[in-house]
Amino acid sequence: MKTTTKQKIAFSTLFVCTVIVVLPVLFVLAMILKNGAGAVNWEFLSSMPKDNMKAGGIYPAIIGTIYLVSLSTLFSLPIGLFAAIYLNEYAKENMLTRLIRLAIVNLSGVSSVVYGLFGLALFVTFLKFGVSILSGALTLAIMNLPVIITASVEALASVPYSFREVSLSLGASKRQTVRHSVLPFAVPGILTGAILSLARAAGETAPILFTVAAFYLPNLPHSIFDQAMALPYHLYIISTQIPGIPQEMRYGTALVLVGIVFSMNIFAVIIRSKFRKKKKW
């Protein structure tokens, strides 16, 4: 066989594989858009569910998801970031740090329903936070920690080692060096990782299943000790638990959920590309 023919076959194989990766995403998006776009309007986004959830909107579920995502970030971002700083800047390479790294990798592989059970046992029952936004947010935060730590460690490690040497050689302390010569240049990478993990938190169902999610609430939550409705769980119940929900409403809910996750991801991509343009080393 001629080399050029071989090359053409190889290229086409690679191309086909790439298309196969992208196709399902496009297909899912197209299906959700086609079936759900008609349902999404201001009324749908801003009103309470009515008539046994067969009509009305998904406002409380959107609000619940926003509460959960913001509160979980409040816990996971600082803890994850400080852990990453410790691991990348301070920790010496020894048995303990290797164990910690191994634990982080393993944590990110644990299935989300296990996090849900863990949250139920620890926050809901043992710490007596009850089924509440607090318990749910903490559970999501723990689920997100490995992602945030990994992304932050990578972002810190990508800052050239020479920046640290320069800063130290100028008489700065270790803490000042991390604060002024490492962190500022790692922030975009850390933010990107954090936003991606938020998007994941917004979409997960299992961790909130036992810890926060309510089937239906007539009122919005008043404090972090209240239960809340959340988009993924709402989608799950209107799709499987209640018969006779109009298909448009289900796809509309899915569209809103995917829309939120998607726009967060796009936001992360924008931050990253802006940063790439500014990056000079």
Binding site: S162, F163, L170
Partner: protein, 251 residues
């Protein structure tokens, strides 16, 4: 009279893991001299330099024995931040931080707590004049330092080190990435700097050592072969190996 020795090194040995980078080094560095340090790769000259501001401390598996005395005081007993303020360093590649020219120079002073804008302005201007860079950058201090050419960046790094008012300045092959004109400018500023500072210049370029240094030390595989007045080293070295290296027979 005060002792003319700025730095005295006694029986210094450095290991990185099993590799011995420096063997039984004894050397004294005079106040306000430029000491050139030459030698082939792996001769221990950079390890020697980085010992003086304790940057070696950062390496994994680093171990050292012996003493380095700065003005008669063991540097291990000096707080590393204070030591590095007194012993500044210029790296091989120009290491301007990707922040503005002004902020690069103000970096050190800000770390020691100088916040006064006028004082910082003065420091920036004075140090940029000392490295002969002021006229080229005075109108664009707020621009990113990474926009400067390599030679300008290296002179910026000199200014940045001067802003910490060091007593000793370590140059680690400062011109290895520079063109001849930039090199000449860096050398010019070194000669001016020795009026107020003690300078140690590690260089791969023996001609550079011959041009600027008062005394020259030749290192080979972690040992100091000889140290003498630069003129003597380059015209009548006492050791055959020095002669061989300088005349380009190996290295």
């Amino acid at each position: 009279m005060v002792s003319p020795n700025k730095i005295v090194i006694k029986e210094l040995n450095i290991w990185f893991g099993k590799i011995r980078a420096l063997k039984n080094l004894n050397i004294a560095i005079f106040k306000n001299e430029i000491l050139g340090v030459i030698g082939p790769a792996n001769s221990g000259k950079t390890s020697f330099l980085r010992q003086l501001n304790r940057l070696n401390d950062l390496e994994a598996n680093y171990q050292a024995t012996g003493e380095v005395l700065l003005d008669g005081k063991d540097i291990q007993a000096i707080n590393p931040e204070l030591l590095r303020k007194r012993v500044g360093m210029i790296f091989a590649l120009p290491q301007a931080l990707p922040i503005s020219i002004y902020d690069n120079i103000a970096y050190g002073p800000r770390m020691y707590g100088i916040k006064d804008k006028n004082r910082l302005d003065n420091i920036v201007e004075d140090t940029l004049k000392d490295s002969f860079l002021w006229d080229e950058v005075k109108d664009r201090l707020a621009e990113s330092a990474t926009k400067l050419s390599g030679g300008q960046q290296q002179r910026l790094c000199i200014s940045r080190t001067l802003a910490q008012y060091p007593e000793v300045i370590l140059f680690d092959e400062p011109c290895s990435g520079l063109d001849p004109i930039s090199t000449a400018k860096v050398e010019e500023s070194m000669l001016k700097l020795k009026e107020k500072h003690t300078i140690i210049l590690v260089t791969n370029n023996t001609k550079q050592a011959a041009r600027v240094s008062d005394r020259t030390a030749f290192f080979l595989t972690g040992e100091l072969v000889e140290i003498d007045a630069t003129e003597k080293i380059f015209t009548a070295p006492s050791d055959k190996r020095t002669e061989g290296y300088i005349s380009g027979k190996f290295g």
